[in-house]
């Protein structure tokens, strides 16, 4: 507490008694108090490190001031810091664990889908089971539809192959299918009968052993050239069958194109 002129008359430290209040603070206080003799202006936080309030006592002009260090005033916030730090840490840990659990659980259909796709690829399963997730359901249905169409095409192809085999096997004419390089991939039974060689032997190229003379070899070269040029050709040559008997063979070769490829 100070007198009107700023002399300290009450203070916890006796050494401060009768000292003069800091002139800057005095002028600041006078500015805040104004000219009214009975002003009861209260102001706070004049200095940065403490909360301070001052009030003038009207009848005497004396000023009473209270001060509280900011550190002490902010003690509750430090406690709050600690509590929130610990609480926040625990909450974050629990939330993270819950989050991982939820993600793990929610992504179970995708993991199951991954396993089932793998089984389908290994031919250990025929179809994917339908999940409850709408997004995956559409995907799985499309995938299953593709599998069904693929299976349908495979069966149709197999049927056509069986029909083709039946037609070719009942034919009295020898038939073979070769790739564009001339390697034989398919022969029918009639060709085996005509040449006396088995299908396996024919595939291994043993027909070349039966070409009787240079004319036969020339005809074979013509056929190979026609293959390379993707052209039709008919050739005739003498051929020695597997049982060494001699026969004339007439071969008509025609290239087959699929989407422009031979």
């Amino acid at each position: 507490m100070t007198t009107e002129s700023g002399v300290i008359i009450a203070h916890p430290q006796r050494s401060e008694l009768l000292q003069i209040l800091d002139t800057n603070l005095q002028s600041e206080l006078l500015t805040h108090f104004g000219t009214e003799s009975d002003a009861q202006v209260v102001h706070s936080n004049f200095s940065g490190d403490a909360l301070q309030t001052y009030q003038r006592i009207p009848s005497t002009g004396w000023i009473i001031g209270a001060t509280l260090p900011l550190d002490e005033a902010m003690t509750p916030i430090q406690t709050l810091w600690r509590v929130q730090l610990i609480g926040g840490g625990i909450f974050t840990l629990i939330a993270l664990l819950a989050l991982i659990g939820i993600i793990h659980s929610q992504l179970r259909p995708i993991r199951r889908l991954q396993r089932e796709v793998s089984l389908v690829r290994q031919n250990h399963a025929l179809r994917l089971s339908e999940p409850r997730l709408a997004e995956l359901l559409q995907l799985v249905r499309n995938f299953n539809q593709l599998i069904d169409e693929n299976e349908h095409q495979r069966r149709a192809l197999k049927q056509r192959q069986a029909y083709f085999d039946m037609v070719l096997n009942t034919s009295s004419v020898g038939h073979f299918v070769a790739d564009s390089r001339g390697f034989i991939e398919y022969v029918n039974g009639a060709l085996e009968t005509i040449t006396g060689y088995s299908e396996e032997q024919i595939r291994q190229g043993q027909l070349a052993d039966g070409l009787e003379d240079s004319t036969g070899k020339q005809e074979r070269d013509r056929w190979v050239n026609a293959l390379e040029a993707h052209q039709e050709i008919e050739i005739e040559f003498k051929f020695r069958r597997a049982d060494k008997t001699l026969v004339w063979l007439h071969i008509a070769s025609k290239p087959v194109f699929d989407h422009g490829l031979c």
Binding site: M1, T3, S5, V7, I9, A10, H11, P12, R14, L17, L18, Q40, V42, S44, N45, L51, Q52, T53, Y54, Q55, R56, I57, P58, S59, T60, G61, W62, I64, G65, A66, T67, L68, P69, E72, A73, M74, P76, I77, L80, W81, Q84, L85, G88, F91, T92, A95, L96, L99, I100, I103, H104, L107, I110
Partner: protein
């Protein structure tokens, strides 16, 4: 090098975890800032209320003393050289002096303290400073080594008789020993808050 896990579970856990932590840090910071402001405001309000409360109490106590000094001045007859006896009003002060218009001490209480009656105190600093027209004039603290080492604050009330100035009632408050000041100096709030 940029690295991000290929597993969806790990990606989601990492992304959401980081987002969660960032959000929490942001929330906690914001909350603490608001709470910090709130606590500072509350403490300031508490401090203001406390100061107002003590100022009001002090005002009442000082007004009582001013009224007592004025009352003494109104009822004291300087020429009669009345002695000052213990009274409730006198108990409010450390000592009370009656001084004539010429500056002689007429009477004092307690009798064993202060200048002897008849002592010329016109040389005392307050004598030249006092405002006779004021109801009660309050001095700055003065030290009179011949009387006491304790600084005294004088509450001075002029004595008038039919518009003739007769002298002063000087009621003294010792800066070190007056309970009023000691009580204020002894107030503590928190660990290190004080008046």
């Amino acid at each position: 090098m940029y690295f991000f896990p290929r597993r969806l579970v790990t990606r989601l856990a990492l992304s959401l975890g980081i987002a969660l932590i960032l959000m929490l840090v942001l929330l906690v910071s914001l909350s603490l800032r608001v709470q910090e402001d709130s606590i500072q405001e509350q403490t300031q309000t508490m401090l203001i209320r406390m100061t107002e409360s003590y100022a009001s109490s002090l005002m009442v106590m000082l007004d009582t003393r001013l009224t007592a000094a004025r009352s003494l001045a109104e009822h004291y007859d300087v020429e009669a050289h009345q002695p000052l006896y213990f009274s409730t009003a006198q108990n409010l002060f450390q000592s009370v002096w009656v001084i004539s218009a010429q500056g002689d001490l007429v009477s004092s209480w307690p009798a064993e303290q202060g200048p002897e009656p008849g002592t010329d105190v016109s040389a005392y600093s307050f004598f030249s400073e006092v405002d006779k027209s004021a109801s009660v004039w309050i001095s700055e603290p003065h030290v009179y080594e011949e009387i006491s080492s304790e600084p005294l604050i004088h509450l001075v009330a002029s004595i008038w008789n039919e518009e003739e100035f007769k002298g002063f009632i000087v009621a003294n408050l010792g800066v070190f020993s007056t309970p009023l000041f000691q009580r204020i100096a002894g107030v503590a709030f928190g660990n290190s808050g004080y008046f």
